[in-house]
Assembly symmetry: C2
Homo-oligomer: 137 residues x 2
DNA sequence: TCCTACAATGGACAATGTCTAAGTCAAGCA
DNA sequence: TGCTTGACTTAGACATTGTCCATTGTAGGA
């Protein structure tokens, strides 16, 4: 059921109730919660979990590459558990809804060597912005 | 000299010393300052300028499309006055340096209709991440 | 079962951004 | 030039998001 928990255990993570809860909250596709939302949902399952623990746990998951940090809006970072399939994000500027999308081609290829200024490039982040059908009424 | 100021005046902006200073701070290419950095430089030219004014002024410039908000790192937003030429950003993960780059092709084209979920898409934001020559030693 | 290192807690602190009430001033007009 | 007016600025309180640290708790191995 929980691939995420299994992978974490395999990496020698000590399994605590808190970490389990955070991982559970993040399950599923198209999940893009802020740290605060994760905390709120975690508290619902485990009332005494602290904010610092949620931040720590999310931070560790990001370091391990199990979760991706997304900065789609100006406010808080969001956390995306769909880390094992490369994808980009489609954001509604009105309601803030976020969808995972999978463009064709490799966006890295669009950047010619002459525009790389000697950088060793490891990653591209693409965010499409627009208005979703609901908000477009 | 200051195109930005001229354009703002044309749009009926009341020209104040504070707004002039903020616009001056933002002049030039490859300028990507945080609001706080803008404030610090503005204070150097006009000591009594307040933080709120800098935030207001930057916000208004963004609304007018004269300046772009960039969220390349997790911390503060940055402000990019190079709004009239479409471009993307190349960020060094170590030192945080940011460069404007101009990829070939239109990144919008990479997203097939089937992946648009009915959204009306107006904008794409692309951030390349890597390590700059200086930090790569 | 007991130990110990790792994890969680909670609260202070830091950084960034927003709001408001009151004062100030740019720009149009007589 | 000197008013008038409403837009602009100010200072600082407040809100939100994230980080740190000393203390307490506990998972998992011996």
């Amino acid at each position: 059921m929980s691939d995420l928990l299994d992978r974490l255990r395999e990496r020698g993570w000590r399994m605590t109730a808190q970490r389990r809860v955070v991982a559970e909250v993040l399950e599923g596709d198209h999940v893009h919660l802020t740290a605060d939302e994760v905390h709120a949902r975690a508290v619902a399952k485990l009332p005494e979990i602290s904010r610092a623990t949620v931040y720590n746990t999310l931070g560790e998951m990001v370091l391990l590459g199990e979760v991706i940090e997304v900065a789609t809006d100006k406010r808080a970072k969001r956390y995306d558990p769909n880390a094992h399939r490369p994808h980009q994000h489609l954001v509604c500027g009105q309601c803030g809804q976020i969808r995972d999308v999978h463009p064709t081609g490799n966006p890295l290829a669009a950047l010619p060597d002459s525009e790389r200024f000697g950088f060793r490039i490891s990653d591209v982040e693409v965010t499409y912005r627009g208005v979703c059908p609901n908000c477009a009424t």
